[in-house]
Symmetry: C2
Subunit: 448 residues, 2 copies
């Protein structure tokens, strides 16, 4: 794991210095939740939780870090002397990675001494905001692909347009959790065990005198189900050239695997290419497509009758363009004075230590109930303890298990919430006890 | 530096295996350029170049990497045996980091054996696409702030919404190059020497019984020009509370530094808050603003007469939302058969080894001329050799120098291109020699 202790906003340290100086280090609870669904989205897929657990359980300033902070001449000596021993000793509850979650319900709940609970805010948001956004975006793309053809698959092609290396790495992992089957990113394949996928570029075709020469060269090196990119010059001619190479492979007892389209009217071309291949008896050769795809374009292609069984999706899946960032926040909900509430319009916070209960009817999730932790409510509790006394209390699950869990949970979500343009809302109810606490704190606030 | 050799698309390796297998490893030249300016943008600020140089000069597969590739059962033994010795031995020309550049002109030019030049594509694009996008976005935000007040400054607040850690780190660096004066990101401060900035959050105010108690606690710990966040309950009341603390600081021979607004109508509130402060003789106290800002909102605030001298800009600057990704590509332009051209509409590539010449008139840049390397053209050449025989031939400049260079170069760009909504285009001319080569290759292509 990378050393992330210094990956924080300066204000976490200045606040902590002031808490220390003012002897205000009582226990506090913060909720991490996402305020709002982006337009058209039906839910989020919680992700980044496991990295978040590693982060809080490994906090520690190095001598060099403390020297740097000292050199800034911002902090007094007494505070700086506390830093070598600074650790996170509190508890964390979180939903399982891969769980569909609703806005304004906690993805994570942190209880610790105020300085410890406050300090972790920035890095937790950095990890969970991004990884949750990408797992969700990928799930949307996969759902669109499968509406066209239940066997259609999505591969992450995003590395070159990802927002630097970590975004590519954690992003590939998130797209896999959300339902992608593979990635072009070799390092993500190696580090996370995600299947890797890839063929050749236009420059490969341009490196040979003719397209068919390039195809033959590629098939010579990769005779077992190679994929050929057929749009460098003319897609239909490319399909005919690929067919010739496909028949040559058959003569060697091998098979062409697939052809890929990367420009033009993909729906229309997919039908023409399918026909060219089928006429040569190459009905087993798959037609893949790429070129700045997203869930909206895939829906359109499905409507136009595209015959495509694999999508390479790059830029928009790995950056969640145009969303680019989701509104995850980290808010104080309880301290030794009791529940804390914020009443500003659009910035409401639910007070107290809470649990989410998810209710299922006939195999479909119907409603989440946000309740106080000690209330008795029907349904499956989503928040589980993951850190106790500063130590991880649950092993990191295998990535393939997380992916399977995610896809099984998504299968139980209402179909209306899995569309590309979602207009319905999943029901989130506020429990009797939580509602009472909200009213009581609102009244107190009004009387001040 | 992180080990980035495996940070590549699988197809770079499959292509290289096919080039190796087909004895096609002649010298080739690729251009890295950006196809298109996002809507409203006038130019790009080239960034990520120094990381790119480190990357190509440190390529090396580990034993573990090669074992992983072997385990995938994609590659034959002969190719795998070449990997331990695989290095980049070629040459790289690039524009200086911080240079304003135009679409469709090379940011970088790579010449090497085909396998080496091809292999580096993905990681180069990953670094340069992101860092260029963020330096440019930051420059746009800074230009907007300075149009309102030439002394206004912009601080990077993006860490919590950045697309994971590298995006936050390289992003902070890029915002600094583009003109931000500081970052909230402590790790970026430590690693890159960027000034760090930060105060306290709403949760700090909520942790005390009253706002003024919180302000006093903060000012007690940080009596030297503290910044107070004044909108937790009511901004104008917050300004009055801050004024009281400001006068208390004066009584100790100290000064309040600034107040920060983080919600509501920032332009209107800034005027009201300014008045409250001025009435108490606190005219030296600065008014800062944050809350999902971008260059468009800052322009609007300026038009409404905002009295703000510092902006904390987070989400939209660190992700370049809604742009989220720019269209940097890496294209074959020459090999041992001569210049290479692509003619697909919207995907044109200029052939040959090229140089960009920038012409200045009365201290303002007027035109760039894209020419063949050996042509004699007036103007300052922008591409410089940075790698020769696989080795870096120019030291990494200090970050502060890069920032200064960038801001000086931007100062020479036409004002019309520095607006928030740019409608004019900077002139890029194609030289006589390059135009001839384009025509010649187009004719050849048509005759095929």
């Amino acid at each position: 794991m990378k050393e992330k202790t210094m990956l924080t906003d300066l204000y976490q340290l200045t606040m902590n210095a002031a808490y220390f100086d003012n002897q205000k280090d009582d226990m506090a609870t913060f909720d991490l939740f996402i305020r709002k669904l982006p337009q058209d989205w039906g839910f989020f897929i919680a992700n980044g939780i496991e990295d978040a657990i590693d982060y809080v359980t490994n906090l520690q300033f190095t001598v060099e870090d403390i020297q740097y902070l000292k050199d800034q001449q911002i902090f007094n000596e007494d505070f700086l002397e506390t830093l070598p021993e600074f650790r996170f000793n509190g508890e964390v509850y979180a939903v399982k990675e891969g769980t569909p979650i609703m806005p304004n319900t906690p993805v994570m709940r942190v209880t610790a001494k105020r300085t410890e609970a406050q300090f972790v805010e920035t890095a937790l948001l950095n990890m969970i905001n991004f990884q949750t956004m990408i797992a969700t975006k990928a799930n949307r793309v996969v759902n669109a692909a499968k509406r066209g053809n239940k066997d259609a698959v999505v591969v992450d092609f995003g590395l070159r347009r990802a927002q630097e290396e970590d975004a590519a790495m954690k992003g590939s992992r998130a797209t896999y959790v959300g339902g992608a089957v593979a990635t072009s990113n070799v390092k993500a394949g190696k580090e996370y065990g995600i299947p890797i996928s890839g063929t050749h570029a236009h420059s490969f075709v341009m490196s040979f005198k003719t397209e068919i020469e390039a195809f033959r060269a590629y098939a010579k090196t990769f005779p077992n189900k190679p994929t050929l990119l057929i749009d460098t010059y003319d897609t239909e001619q490319g399909a005919r050239n690929a067919s010739i190479v496909g028949k040559e492979l058959e003569a060697q007892g091998k098979q062409l695997g697939a052809v890929r389209l990367d420009s033009g009217d993909l729906a229309d071309l997919s039908q023409k290419v399918r026909k060219i291949l089928d006429e040569q008896g190459l009905d087993y050769v798959k037609v893949l497509a790429s070129n700045d795809l997203n869930e909206y374009k895939i829906d359109e292609m499905n409507e136009k009758g595209a015959v495509i069984t694999g999508y390479g999706v790059g830029t928009e899946m790995i950056t969640a363009k145009p969303v680019a960032a989701i509104s995850g926040v980290y808010k104080l909900v309880e301290d030794n004075q009791g529940g804390k509430i914020k009443l500003a319009p659009g910035k409401k916070t639910y007070p107290g230590k809470k649990q989410i209960y998810r209710q299922e009817v006939n195999g479909e999730y119907k409603v989440d109930i946000l309740a106080l932790e000690d209330e008795k409510v029907m349904g499956k509790p989503l928040l589980e303890q993951v850190v106790k006394d500063g130590e991880r209390v649950r092993e990191r699950p295998k990535l393939a298990e997380t992916r399977e869990y995610c896809l099984n949970e998504v299968a139980k979500m209402p179909e209306a919430l899995k569309q590309t343009r979602v207009i319905e809302q999943y029901q989130v109810q506020i429990s009797y006890g939580l509602n009472n606490l909200v009213n009581q704190l609102t009244d107190q606030f009004a009387q001040q």
